[in-house]
Amino acid sequence: MLKKDLLELCLLQLLAGGDKYGYEVLTPLRTAFPDTQESAIYALLRGLGKSGCTQWYMAPGGGGPDRKYYKLTPAGRGRLEELRRDWRNMRDAIASFGVE
């Protein structure tokens, strides 16, 4: 699993918890992966939209202008499951070497 896959896993997991707007997705990911720029995460989010894993819609933001909200599609849920499986396998493989 590459770092990109880990980022993708976290991103999909975030969206699985409910629809979110761009900044709401990018900020926690940047906090968790401080050496990754938000543009890279945005590129990932955009790529997921292109591959049909996410969809977006406009909705009123907190008092300000409309915001673009992202939501998970069934294809996105499938991809999340796939990445979760990969993550578990990798975690078990690493644990077998005694890595805590």
Partner: protein, 269 residues
């Protein structure tokens, strides 16, 4: 002591990002990305000082969302179109072309137009996008290019009208001097056409596809000037019947001009 670079403001960041992304991405995708970045950059929580640190430079941000295949295809098209303008200018300055299968060398600049006109129209019709009302700047620039082209053609018409020795007190020497000045004017106009043409291409990609009209008009004027320069260089100056050149040149450049104007009109629609 090194002078510290001023951090970009939110407006500057978005402006730079918009420019980079419009150059790299197809119109619809670039507008979408700009809207997303507007939302991200202008978040009230966003610290302007840390903009580049958090988002990367505008060029990096644009690079990350670039579809490399599509971008390379655009670069290839741009290179072909810009190289055509460069070739026309080079021929205007050197008057040395390449012969294909015995074809006359003065068709070289027109051949560039035969490739550039349909290729650019096809590309921008398929991948370009209109953006707002027709720009006044575009109309003014088109008018300037047209005036430069027509001015040179008028001078050529005058020069090639009457017999050389009757028209100029200096005889053939006087005529040659006039041709020399016309030649110089055409060389300078060629450089102007090349710069304006490339500007038209860049603006057609980054702003509004109707700027392609400027490229096509410059390409047409460049082709006509190139044709004339080759003919002038091949002409025997001691031959006292320049009206023959007038008939030859104008009967050949008229269809080229008409096709170019039609192309310009199509690009404006």
């Amino acid at each position: 002591m090194m002078k510290q670079k001023k951090p970009l403001t939110k407006v500057q960041y978005l402006k730079k990002f918009s420019r980079a992304v419009r150059w790299r991405l197809p119109p619809q995708e670039s507008e979408e990305a700009i809207a997303d970045y507007r939302e991200l950059v202008f978040q009230p929580e966003r610290d302007e000082e840390k903009l580049v640190e958090e988002l990367g430079t505008p060029a990096q941000a644009a690079h990350l969302i670039t579809d490399v295949k599509t971008y390379r295809r655009w670069l290839a098209v741009f290179a072909v179109l810009a190289f055509g303008l460069f070739l026309q200018t080079k021929w205007l300055w050197t008057a040395r072309g390449v012969t294909f299968n015995g074809a006359r060398v003065w068709w070289n600049p027109v051949l560039v137009m035969v490739i550039g006109l349909p290729l650019s129209l096809y590309w921008f019709r398929k991948h370009g996008q209109e953006n707002g009302p027709l720009s006044k700047r575009l109309l003014i620039t088109l008018a300037v290019v047209a005036v430069v082209g027509c001015g040179i053609l008028c001078r050529l018409w005058q020069l090639s009208g009457v017999s050389v020795f009757d028209q100029y007190p200096g005889g053939s020497y006087g005529f040659e001097r006039q041709v020399y000045w016309l030649n110089t004017a055409m060389m300078c106009a060629g450089v102007l056409m090349a710069f304006a043409g490339v500007t038209g291409l860049v603006l057609a990609k980054c702003r509004d596809r109707r700027w392609l009209a400027l490229y096509i008009l410059c390409l047409t004027v460049g082709a006509i000037l190139g044709f004339i320069i080759f003919v002038i260089h091949a002409m025997d100056m001691t031959f006292g019947a320049p009206e023959l050149m007038r008939t030859y040149v104008f009967s050949h450049i008229l269809p080229v001009g008409v096709i170019g104007l039609i192309g310009t009109g199509v690009a404006l629609c």
